[in-house]
């Protein structure tokens, strides 16, 4: 039987998310398209609930960075990438009592989650506008899934983590 602090559950129920209202007033960065920069309104709450405060702060920063933030070939996070992050996180289950996944942004505007399985091996999921690239080190598995497969990927990651 798992220890209490390792029970698999959402860190904070999404309905209980109590971030100050001011934090919901996103400033749209200087980008070429409003649609490309728009954050789905429910997504900050999902990020906070599943990944915690540090990742939520980082998400806030990343969502404000415009095209060119890391040089001429870098891009702002695209609308489809936000959508796919929401889909993946909604289906994902992370082990409480251990550090939640870290959120990163790649130079080409993809959102990346990285965390460790119980054996210390790396799990990495990079959300793209089309779906996700993933790497599960313990299985030596490195591949891509389309958007429809994100729920199944979340379950595979959960099994690999446990």
């Amino acid at each position: 039987m798992p220890a209490l602090d390792e029970t698999l559950e959402t860190r904070v129920a999404i309905g209980q998310w109590l971030a100050p209202q001011t934090t919901l007033q996103w400033t749209i960065p200087h980008v070429t398209s409003w649609m490309e920069s728009s954050v789905p309104p429910e997504l900050p709450g999902i990020v906070y609930a599943k990944l915690g405060d540090a990742a939520w702060q980082r998400f806030n920063d990343f969502s404000r960075w415009p095209d060119g933030w890391a040089g001429p070939h870098s891009h702002a996070v695209a609308w489809g990438t936000y959508q796919n992050l929401g889909k993946f996180l909604s289906a994902a289950r992370f082990v409480t009592g251990r550090p939640p996944p870290s959120l990163f942004v790649t130079d080409d505007g993809m959102l990346e989650l990285s965390w460790e399985a119980r054996d210390g091996s790396t799990i990495n999921v990079t959300l793209t506008p089309e779906g996700a690239d993933f790497f599960i080190e313990a299985r030596g598995e490195e591949a891509h899934v389309q958007s429809e497969g994100l729920g199944e990927l979340a379950e595979r990651c959960h099994q690999a983590t446990a």
Binding site: R64, A70, P99, T106, S114, F135, E137, E142
Partner: protein, 143 residues
Amino acid sequence: MRLPREEQVVRAICSDKFDRSNGRVSPSLFKGPNTSVSRLAVIPLSLQWRKLAATVQKLPGRKLEQLGEIGVGPLEDLGLNYVANGIPMKVALSVVDDPLPTNEAHAVIPENITAGLGSAICRALKFHELPEGFSPEQIERVR
């Protein structure tokens, strides 16, 4: 010009690729083609901070956090020994000099690097923290 195996290079690690809350570094620090690095043979480590900070800190919330050092030889060996999905990939990595007006020590790894290989490279890095007395605020004033 391809750099010799004996050379050491550093990669700037900014806040978008480093999560200070738990010390994790993003595998995408080394991912994709044309990864920028900086040569210690041209600019010593103690002077790399100011040079790199001035080029990477251009946005609120994006700060230079660390430098990751690796030798050209060990980097090439990681590529040649990399196995993905059970198949030896034998990725022939190289580091090529590419001096820029803003950084004469600039070099690139031209080959495409996958997340798995990027993870292996990140594990092999020697991390250098910001030098004492060199605060991010100072760096921002340099910009």
